[in-house]
């Protein structure tokens, strides 16, 4: 597979960290500003797409481990489910961290507030990022044009 020219590659080197950091910012501030797990995760996927397009499929094949990504997607889901189960003694999805918990019960508007929401955002962000990257990568590897 051919890849892009030197200008695109250089720009991609500069942009991938910026997109990634911005995506992480959206995920982490999901409970404070617009956006959240899905939006942030989809933004971080932009880094994966840019990497795939700028550096080509062969380079991506060396760096993207299918088992790791699919396991991480499972981990994202399990984090979400596990946090939802924390307050199971009261009810499923009971926000025990906010009501009693040791963490994430700061003043509303600060980063460490909102109970389990930031953790759920992280879980969803991880799941969306790994899921979409694996989907696009699998499509880019799909056999060939002609049968």
């Amino acid at each position: 597979m051919s890849d892009m020219g030197v200008i695109v590659k250089t720009n991609a080197r500069a942009l991938i960290p910026l997109i990634g950091i911005f995506g992480c910012y959206i995920v982490l501030h999901g409970h404070l500003t617009p956006g959240g797990g899905f939006q942030g995760g989809a933004t971080i996927v932009g880094t994966g797409l840019l990497f795939l397009i700028a550096f080509g499929v062969d380079e991506a094949k060396k760096r993207i481990n299918k088992d790791l990504y699919s396991a991480l997607e499972g981990v994202g889901g399990l984090v979400f489910l596990g946090v939802a189960m924390l307050g199971l003694s009261v009810a499923f999805f009971y926000n025990v961290l906010w009501h009693k918990g040791p963490l994430f019960n700061g003043k509303p508007g600060t980063l460490l507030s909102a109970g389990f929401l930031p953790i759920m955002n992280l879980g969803v962000g991880l799941k969306v990022f790994t899921g979409l990257v694996s989907a696009v990568f699998a499509l880019s590897l799909f056999r060939r044009w002609k049968g």
Binding site: G74, L78, V90, F92, N95
Partner: protein, 510 residues
């Protein structure tokens, strides 16, 4: 402390942990899926018992009650009445058997960790539909179920028919789901709530034309999901193309929970105050009659075994819709009660026997590599156990007296004949076609063995075990038809009719 949340937590945990478990090579993913679905079955039984001993369960997500500081429900509510509990039990039971069956049936396929993830997700979506009391939550679970089934229908993506059926099912299925979503949007815009029981309250205060349009959209979308007659074409392609364990779940469960259960729930628990029962009921009855005739008549002329079973499913959905329609029109009368009980009973029975028949068809396909009935003559010689199971399933679906299909069909015949003799006649004609179709298959099976059949043999134990569990369930239920009907199906029909009870058990806590 109720068992109810675990019915969602366990399959979800199983599906999310499947990619990690499958990193252990070997049989880990199969064993894990079996354990998870067995645990779900246990929870399903417990939920059933809980509802049957303690009445409707109302479970609010996020707090003890569905109310915050408001006097109306603000949280997502799960509400399981007797009908929902029956559906939960049958879903967990058939799903467990389908997963058990897949262990051997699917072993030649690749990508099995995806397969087991999807099958658990499919089970999760159906269970969610059965337990939810929130209309948007219902839509989410409907989509979980639908998307998992699109992917599973096209699971064997190296065959042309898997892809073709998957694309057809996905395109029209997404359209049908979007009808449901549009209906929900209209209802939310008009009434400002998404809780089913509270929507019924708001609707009784102010029945509007918007509610009627929303109901039309719901019925359109959900009749599609159930495979009723003018929109049954996806079913006849999807069931043959899917792996047989999936066909058993699609035909036994998905079309009932996403179609019949959802229609019953939406009509009775949400829209009842706003509608004219006669109109809605007769619309359903008309679709039911078309479905009955079309499905069963098309089953007679099929040469593909699984396609025949798929059309037969369409025909049986016609019976269930007929019972449901009469149950709506004849609300409050004895005839309506019998019809609705018959519809619920037939839902359960058909799930069991159609799962059995599809699993048997899967055995034939697995051993012989063909589904063409013309090549399968004399199967009884070389695969006696399989043929016996098919004989039981076919006799049950036609409605032979010692088996379970008899009682449920009898309730539907009786009520439709009492309600309107013409409907009774149509039901009988449908059964005549159905009998013709299955007798034809049985004649093929008991004929002179063909070349191809001579070297076939019965499958291994893990494939026969689920089949014979289903055979025992069918015979066992057939021995106590009226006891089951009086003890379970009639109370379930009554609880579905008891709209005030549904609302009060939701609002009572506040």
């Amino acid at each position: 402390m109720t068992w109810l949340p675990f019915i969602i937590i366990i399959p979800l945990f199983g599906a999310f942990s499947m990619p990690i478990v499958s990193l252990l090579k070997g049989k880990a993913k199969e064993i894990w899926a079996t354990i998870i679905s067995f645990a779900t079955l246990i929870v399903g039984i417990e939920v059933f018992r809980e509802v049957w001993s303690g009445g409707t369960i109302v479970y609010a997500l996020g707090s003890e009650t569905p109310f915050g500081k408001a006097d109306f429900p603000i949280r997502i509510v799960w509400e399981v009445d007797k009908f929902g509990a029956i559906m939960v039990l049958i879903i967990t039971f058939v799903s467990f058997l389908a997963i058990l069956y897949s262990l051997e049936y699917m072993k030649h396929d690749t990508g099995l960790e995806k397969y087991y993830t999807l099958i658990l997700i499919l089970e999760l979506g159906m269970l969610g539909i059965a337990i939810t009391g929130d209309i948007f939550n219902f839509y989410v679970f409907l989509e979980i179920m639908s998307i998992a089934s699109y992917a599973l229908v096209a699971f064997r993506h190296d065959t042309w028919e898997g892809i073709e059926a998957g694309i057809k099912y996905m395109f029209v299925g997404s359209l049908a789901s979007s009808f449901v979503l549009l209906g929900i949007a209209l209802l939310y815009g008009q009434y400002g709530t998404l809780t089913m029981g509270y929507l019924a309250v708001k609707m009784s205060e102010n029945p509007t034309i918007v509610a009627k349009i929303a109901l039309a959209l719901f019925l359109g979308g959900l009749l599609f999901k159930s495979g009723a007659a003018p929109v049954h074409m996806w079913l006849a392609d999807a069931h043959p193309a899917a792996p047989s364990s999936i066909s058993a779940m699609l035909s036994g469960l998905v079309i009932k929970i996403g179609g019949i259960y959802a229609i019953a729930r939406v009509v009775f628990s949400i829209f009842w105050p706003a509608i004219n029962p006669a109109t809605v009921g007769w619309i359903i009855i008309i679709f039911a009659c078309i479905t009955l005739i079309v499905g069963n008549a098309m089953a007679v002329v099929q040469e593909d075994m699984k396609r025949l079973l798929a059309y037969s499913s369409v025909g049986q959905i016609g019976y269930i819709l007929l019972g449901l329609g009469i149950g709506i029109v004849a609300y409050g009368s004895k005839v309506g009660e019998i019809a609705l009980a018959g519809a619920i009973y037939h839902t359960v029975n058909h799930a069991l026997m159609k799962a059995l028949l599809f699993l048997v068809a899967g055995v034939v396909l697995h051993e012989l590599g063909t589904r063409n009935l013309n090549e399968l003559s004399g199967l009884a010689k070389t695969m006696p156990k399989t043929t016996f199971a098919f004989l039981i399933g076919a006799a049950a679906i036609v409605g032979m007296p010692p088996l379970n299909g008899f009682a449920s069909k009898w309730l539907i015949y009786e009520s439709s004949a009492l309600f309107n003799p013409l409907l009774g006649a149509i039901a009988i004609i449908g059964t005549a076609f159905c009998t013709a179709a299955y007798v034809r298959v049985l004649f093929t099976f008991f004929g002179r063995p063909s070349e191809k059949v001579m070297k076939a043999k019965d499958p291994g134990a893990t494939m026969l075990l689920p089949i014979f569990i289903l055979v025992i369930a069918i015979i066992g239920m057939g021995l106590f038809p009226w006891q089951i009907s009086d003890k379970f199906m009639v109370p379930a029909a009554k609880s579905l009719w008891d709209i005030m009870g549904y609302v009060i058990s939701l609002m009572g806590g506040g």
